[in-house]
């Protein structure tokens, strides 16, 4: 049985990865024909370096940063690790009292897992600050945690927008709380880039994680924006290619494609947000017309200050999310349950649990994420098949409850 062609699939999983935009594809493939290490001194090296530096300038100007703020990495996970560990080590080295790291309870695993690692191996004290029922950080709780002992806080990290339920976090308020005590703030903006307005300098954060493949660029490239003045201890040691903070031969074709994708995403962002929000609202309304008891998770207000325009996260009471996903997959609708472990065994999402949902309702949830390639036809396809799929997933769900 041949796999369905991309055009036949209603791809509603742009938060996982996105199709490469033509500019990025053309740039990357063109650069792959070229020879040159950006650290070499000869002509082909200089040519590679020129591509990297032009890409750095393009990226910086699109997201409101200085070129010198940009550290190219292998992607979001590396950027998050570098930010969290690098900031913690540097700040503690400057003052050994700084052992606390404060983070939102709904952070991505690329932030949470380094935090837990630091707690286990580096004597860090990790405090996860709670969120409300919409998934938004409790800023008062963060403030109280900081003010309890500001001298001991190494860093604060709060994502720009949540990858599962799409809730946009009050990053500006987080910065106000932290800046009052000179504490650096990192934000994982992987999901926000291209969907909501993003300006590094204006936001006041000290470090920001970006990823290439979530915005139409290639997989395997990303960036950490770090204010030039801020010290980071490296995670990867070697040639020191990026500001002596990040080592490894620069991935020139990927960096070129990344910059092209970000430039396009930045230019399109206002239009993207408007189009996606309308499509998303339509998706939610029509799914709920078919499945009236489906619950929209996250912030119901659809402006870009509150929610990612491409995100629709729904709980289907009585369903097992992974079985519903499988039934939709069989009808060429691609979506996500939000989190999976290495063996592919579903676990209840820590994000929904932090929002006060119980394990069962957390497991009965699906994320539909729209991107710039999404069309009304994709939504039609979902609406056509969701009703019978939910009925069957419910029958299976009743079975697993009966067993207990």
């Amino acid at each position: 049985m041949p796999a369905p062609t991309p055009a036949e699939v209603a791809y509603l999983d742009h938060a996982a990865t996105t199709p490469m935009v033509p500019e990025a594809l053309a740039t990357t493939t063109e650069l792959m024909h070229r020879l040159g290490n950006a650290s070499s001194l000869h002509a082909s090296g200089r040519e590679a370096r020129r591509v990297v530096e032009e890409s750095r300038e393009t990226l910086a100007s699109t997201v409101g940063a200085r070129p010198s703020d940009v550290i190219f990495t292998s992607g979001g996970t590396e950027s998050d690790n570098l930010a969290v560990k690098g900031l913690f080590w540097a700040r503690r080295a400057a003052d050994p009292r700084r052992r606390r790291i404060l983070a939102a309870a709904v952070e991505h695993h690329a932030v949470l897992d380094p935090l837990h690692w630091l707690a286990q191996h580096e004597d860090a004290e990790v405090e996860l600050v709670g969120v409300d029922r919409l998934g938004r950080l409790d800023v008062d709780a963060l403030r109280a945690a900081v003010e309890r002992d500001p001298e001991s806080v190494a860093a604060v990290t709060v994502m720009w927008a949540n990858n599962e339920v799409g809730t946009v976090q009050p990053v500006r308020q987080v910065v106000e709380v932290a800046a009052a005590h000179g504490i650096p703030v990192h934000t994982d903006a992987v999901q926000a880039l291209g969907q909501v307005p993003l300006d590094f300098a204006d936001s006041g954060v000290d470090a920001m994680t970006l990823s290439g493949h979530k915005v139409g660029g290639p997989v395997g490239v990303g960036a950490l924006l770090v204010r030039r003045e801020l010290d980071l201890v490296p995670v990867l040691h070697g040639g020191g290619q990026e500001r002596d903070v990040r080592s490894g031969t620069l991935n020139v074709p990927a960096i070129g494609g990344f910059a092209a994708a970000v430039e396009r995403a930045g230019a399109d962002q206002p239009d993207t947000a408007e189009t996606l929000a309308a499509l998303r609202d339509d998706l939610v309304a029509r799914v709920r017309a078919v499945v009236p008891d489906a619950v929209l998770n996250g912030d119901p207000r659809s402006d870009v200050e509150r929610r990612l325009p491409g995100n629709a996260h729904l709980t289907f009471p009585g369903c097992e999310g992974d079985l519903l996903l499988m039934l939709l997959d069989a009808h060429q609708v691609a979506c996500s349950t939000g989190s999976a472990c290495s063996a592919g065994v579903p676990r209840a999402s820590h994000v929904l649990l932090a929002m006060g949902r119980d394990e069962r309702s957390a497991r009965g949830s699906l994320r539909f994420s729209l991107g710039r390639s999404s069309t009304a036809h994709d939504v039609d396809r979902l609406v056509d098949v969701i009703g019978p799929a939910v009925e069957r997933a419910r029958a299976a769900g009743r079975l697993s409850r009966k067993e207990r």
Binding site: M1, D322, S342, V345, A393, R398, S400, E403
Partner: protein, 363 residues
Amino acid sequence: MRVIAAMSGGVDSAVAAARAVEAGHDVTGVHLALAKNAQSYRSGARGCCTLEDSRDARRAADVIGIPFYVWDMAERFHDDVVEDFLDEYAAGRTPNPCLRCNERIKFEAVLERALALGFDAVVTGHYARLETGPDGLVQLHRAVDAGKDQSYVLGVLTQDQLRHSLYPLGDTPKPRVRAEAERRGLSVSAKPDSHDICFIADGDTAGFLRRRLGETEGEILDEAGQVVGSHDGTYGFTIGQRKGLRIGRPAADGRPRYVLDIEPVTQRVTVGPREALDVDLLEASQARWCGAAPDAPLECTVQLRAHGEELPARVVVEGQQVVVALREPAQGVAPGQAAVVYDGTRVVGSATIDVARRGATMP
């Protein structure tokens, strides 16, 4: 039909899934995650529950060209198979967990879920054949490859379960299945057969039972009730066992002694001569019939353990009770084992042995 192929990551279930596709079915591959901690179960070649097996199953599905998912059945498996295994041993019985897994997991939990989701059947790589009888009922038969025949561990399935099952390998000898896997480009073609119990990582069943149930020292007695030795716990013993009894004093007649009985409450193990192992009358319960229960004494054969020999017998069903009278005595029969009843190659049904003894006369 729309079918779920249960894919363990081994060669048999991979070929079974491929054959189901070729037979024209709409096949979806599913790997069952049975271990709560995948690392803790038997690894790689011999098991069916590890991350490596999950990957092998996924790769086979890729090659066959079918969708693939992992279903988490760890909790069900723990409750219905592992706990049952422990309970049975604690009660001094000898269970067969593979049989329980077929009864409660593959052809109950998985099958029911599949049906609820709109599928029609579950296909597995078991070596057994299904035929439709003149009465329209589905019959379960032994596989063509007698050495691989798995009808014994499927003997617990009811008509309803059989009706929604597919065993595409029943007519093929194992070497040909391996060759077919190779021909199909399935990388699992050379993977060794799985053996033993998948949830006991090191293969040390006695050690597993000791760790989980705790051990209590006890006495070893002869048939006359004389204490002839002691032991650290009953879990290391099986009925019919001869080696490792560590009895200091030889028997009066100097002949080897065998475990005759294990009594978990008093922790007593009784030993005696080989002929005392002979039993020819089995009382069994928890009968499961593939079709209708036999309503008259049935001249048939029974099999008492996986890959055990076939014994001529007469089976009488008395309500919930099944009495099996063996034509020739059998040895080493323990309560908890399943007696699977055959009429020729056809499985009639099964029952769990409660009592195995020497009968005075045939019923």
